[in-house]
């Protein structure tokens, strides 16, 4: 029986589709951020803080959010209540978003040119790291409540993210969070990449994160 050499990556079809999505979005000047993090890390709060700041900034841009959830549209409704355009993907069990899901929902959205598109991935630090979905960059959100060992336990999710947002540091002492240990882990997997403490409740720190994102967005060739 013949053995046939294949040497093809299983992610190949997804990666190709994601490449087409990104090219399409980039050609319209749309800046796309794929947001990863555990359930309860504060992803939706960070997105709503950013969206509010972008809308109120001297250079306001249209903002849209795609919310990925296994079930429920709680986050989408919360964002809409704040006046933020939000679209829901309910994966019905799948633990990550893939390029086909994004292609499907983009076909139903009317995104203005030069928009900022935030995609909130499914709450999980494992498989969302393995899939590109057409983003300019990944951003990982981690909270003090999850513990300081997360970059060590999920190095792929952290290493593939261009920046880390650290939330809930106001309860660090109560939950025994060792910020130095966390930062050392982040620094090891993503040397030189920025870490932004952001308080989702008060919005403290969100402006610094936004100004970094603006720099990254402005540095794109298509900006």
């Amino acid at each position: 029986m013949p053995t046939i050499e294949i040497r093809r990556a299983v992610y190949e079809a997804n990666d190709e589709r994601a490449g087409r999505i990104r090219a399409g979005l980039s050609s319209r000047g749309i800046f796309t951020v794929n947001i990863l993090g555990s359930p309860g890390a504060g992803k939706t709060s960070v997105i709503s803080r950013l969206a509010a700041l972008v809308a109120a900034s001297p250079r306001p841009r249209p903002v849209a959010v795609i919310e990925g959830d296994v079930a429920s549209d709680i986050d989408t409704r919360a964002l809409r209540a704040l006046g933020i355009e939000a679209w829901q993907i309910e994966t019905g069990g799948d633990c990550h978003l893939n390029a086909a899901m994004i292609e499907g929902i983009l076909g139903r959205m009317t995104l203005a040119d030069k928009s900022w598109l935030f995609i909130e991935n499914i709450g999980n630090l494992v498989c969302p790291a393995e899939f590109v979905i057409g983003e300019d960059l990944k951003l990982v959100v981690a909270s003090a409540a999850e513990g300081s060992d997360k970059p060590y336990k999920y190095p792929t999710a952290f290493a593939r993210s261009a920046a880390c947002v650290l939330t809930k540091t106001d309860i660090a002492e109560a939950v025994g969070f060792d910020e130095d240990f966390f930062r050392a882990g982040w620094e090891a997997v993503s040397p030189g990449a920025p870490l932004f403490p952001v308080n989702g409740r008060t919005g403290e720190g969100a402006a610094e994160l936004l100004s970094w994102l603006e720099e990254v967005a402005a540095a794109r060739p298509e900006a």
Binding site: M1, P2, T3, I4, E5, I6, R7, R8, A9, V10, Y11, E12, A13, N14, G93, D94, C95, H96, N98, V126, C127, E130, D149, Y152, K153, P155, T156, A159, G185, E187, A188, V189, P191
Partner: protein, 117 residues
Amino acid sequence: MHEASVVESLVAMLSEEVERRGGGRVTNIRLVVGEASGYMAESLEFYLGTLSKGTALEGTALSVRYVKPRLRCSACGLDFERRRFSFDCPSCGGPGKLTDIGGEFYVESIDLEEGAA
């Protein structure tokens, strides 16, 4: 669920390979899996059993070769195997960065029983 969608991609990709070669039945799949990708052979096998039904892959064996993640020290450049909870270089103590070694997820080869589909 982690493995379900990647097994779906795997089945689609290999079905296309078989069709391109004029049909047949796949009897073994040699998969290379980096341990940093987090895929478990048992889980892959379970989903493969279900998702390959009615395809050229039905009943195939799955042989997984695991690859240990290797880090490269940012200070001295040494390549080393990662130890639990640590990125430190065993030689100089510098910080180790993830490399592509350990993130693999590809099909190396298949055994194809020709014309038996």
